[in-house]
Amino acid sequence: MTTSLFSVVAAGAATSKEPSTIAIIFFGAFVVVTLGITYWASKRSSKSTSQFFAAGRSIKGWQNGIAVAGDYMSAASFLGIAGIISTQGYDGFMYSVGWLVAYLTVLLIVAEPLRNLGKFTMADVLAYRMQAKPVRAAAAFSTLTVTTFYMIAQMVGAGSVVNLLLKIDYNWAVTIVGLVMLSYVVFGGMVATTWVQIVKALLLIVGTIILSILVLAQFNFDLGKFFDQTTKVQTGKLAAAAKAGDTEIKVSAGVTKDKNIIVGEDGASQETFKAVDVIGNAPFIITLADTLSADVPAGALVKGPDGKEYKVAALAKANTKAIRLETNLASPVAGKTVAQLGLSQKPEMDINGQKIKAISGAPINVNVKLDKPLTRDYAASTIAGSPTDFMQPGRRYSNTQEKWGALDLISLGMALILGTAGLPHILVRFYTVPDAVEARKSVVWAMVIIGGFYIMTTFLGFGAATLVGSANVGTVDSSGAFIANTNLAAPVLADKVGGEVFYAFVASIAFATILAVVAGLTITACTTFSHDVWLNIIKNGKEKPGEQILVARITAFVVGGLAILLAIAMPGANAAALVALAFAVAASANLPVILFSLFWKRFNTAGAVGGLLGGLIAALTLILISFNGPLGANAPFQLENPGIVSIPAGFLSAFIFTFFSKETASTHKYAEMHFRAETGVGAEVGEGGAIKGAARPGSIPTPAGVAPSTED
């Protein structure tokens, strides 16, 4: 689903901007402030496991709500959605909707029982009435899978943003991000991680509000005008400067013969013509998933997956990620040439024997004959093109674009709405509050913030499309060639409407966003390993003081180190598939067993293990055999998102495996578990919960005699 979200930040190119001192100051300030928070938190976090893993269960509901929002609004939300709307229009907004409505599942079904039943991890809920070891092992495996894939994607993105702004080498950028994140987690535990999320969420909201206001100001705060512009987006730009009197112009893309072509930005400087003819054996530029291992000379032949050959239009240098290809079409029409290669399915190209996937592409330099001469001069890169209706649904997902387009949209919707309630790094946040009532409040707080943010993606995405122009969302590589980079929509838009300082601010927010999410993911991985695997599987639940935290810290180094190495090893488009994997796995593996465990008495250990592994395998397999996998366009599974198949597969697997076992203990303990889930009797309670709980209005006192499991 998030395929197009990450691919290009991951491509790691450089912007036209020089390394910005202002950006360095913003970056530095954020790092200093958050490390300060970590220092403060480190004094509190080492005391006990509940301090380290759950911030002493002392985070207030509204604070946790902001932190949940911070943990949730990752690079995919901030950079990805703005980018996808700026290039694909309305369909990109589907992500925004799904990612908010998903919280109703969390609020109504999962959050409160989870808080009442568990201690530190998702597995606690399952282990309550099942055989602890197999269930914890399977849950830990799926948690670590989801978290690792999610994390590598974020690291790859972070490396590119830092690389972009600070001009630091990609590998160093990834390493620095990894080390800063590790210090939050290792020294500050959950307390520091929570406050980093809060600072980041507030920054993100402030930045997005300012950016939205600046965008609307360009339309004189007239929503009618704003929405009107979204229906005539110019998807191309002038490839060369044009002079008054010219009747033929070079346009990058997005011109249809016999249709109107609009040249120039909205306002007095804009002119409308008719495209009398669209000429040219125009080459188009393909962005590759990996770097070229050797120079590819002009005139060389490159093979597409269907065996069709394309001629290289200009020398492509080694270690770059772009190649220009001639098209064989007599009169290339925008979109058509790209469709020939089937770029949406990421075809694997054979370039001098090197197999590289093409991840995006755009035709360049189409010559357009106008019906009348230009009346004034236009600079190169001025937006131009046939007006395209970006408000029209189905520009990405519809049966006219893709064989199963409508089904893919529904599949995406399923993964979005069901994946969130199975994301381990979101679920663990509910253990940081004193009780279920606070957990409930924190979900509603998160919904207000996340919803507000996602509505504003309208202004970010459509703003970038109309003001910057889809064709100008991207960056210039070292050779001076423009490389489309949809994930830079928000920063590029900020530059356009707010100037360089604001650009640096927004780019820093992107960096903060990723850093915070990575920290949240890391602490989740550490908690899972330390609590589920080390303590409850290896040590049979016998704990030594301080040991768990030590194990978690060591895990943090391992996880962080691994993420750094993997991000360095694969700076390409894989990151996209990884985020998609994370959501699909969460929805297919984790959610079915959480729901069955809470609401189905007959459910047992075999069902839980079968459901977790079945959902995991189904999701992974379908992604592998889809066109995002190694098989490319010829893959047997023709949906981008596996959700519509793998989520039912997860439920079915959990259901079937339940009947393989005659285990009865899990059934006997259902009543007890259900009672605790609904009332919180015996639940882990936070500061002020255990003793002062009865006095606190709105909270549920813990009964003195019901033996709440003690905090360590």
């Binding site: 109703l104 602890a132 007890e672 009797v681």
Partner: protein, 144 residues
């Protein structure tokens, strides 16, 4: 941790080995667990949460279904969902936007109108558990 420390009534009843106090507590707790108050709590929650969940799932999935199948006609012309209400503002966008308000309204109804009632019911049940436990503990102390 949670595995080792939590009270596990199902199995202990079978093995015995409990003090009289513990055994009675277990019995009384089980009585509360299956008592009318808890059953009332369960059914109240079900009566709200089940329809609410069905409602939001249908409302949400209507969006990708309608947009996917009725956004653009197979011949490429705008479908029903692409009807424009004012300037570029379409039915599809309005429906997408309405999802946010649907989610917020449902969340606040749950938080402000429904949950407080449930919390009161929960408090009553918890109070009952505490009272019984205190009573048993007192009796036990008096007997010594």
């Amino acid at each position: 941790m949670a595995d080792t420390l939590k009270p596990s009534r199902g199995s202990t009843l079978a093995t015995g080995g409990l003090t009289a106090e513990e055994l009675e507590k277990e019995h009384q707790l089980e009585a509360i667990e299956s008592g009318p108050e808890f059953r009332a709590l369960e059914s109240s929650k079900l009566k709200f949460l089940l329809p609410a969940t069905i409602f939001f799932m249908i409302y949400y999935f209507a969006l990708p279904v309608l947009v996917g199948f009725f956004g653009t006609n197979t011949d490429g012309t705008p479908g029903f969902m692409d009807t424009r209400l004012f300037s570029g503002f379409s039915v599809a966008y309005l429906f997408a936007l309405s999802q946010f308000f649907m989610a917020w309204i449902l969340a606040f109804i749950y938080l402000l109108a429904f949950a407080p009632k449930i919390d009161q019911m929960v408090r009553n049940i918890v109070e009952k558990v505490v009272n019984r436990n205190t009573e048993i503990a007192d009796r036990e102390r008096g007997g010594r």
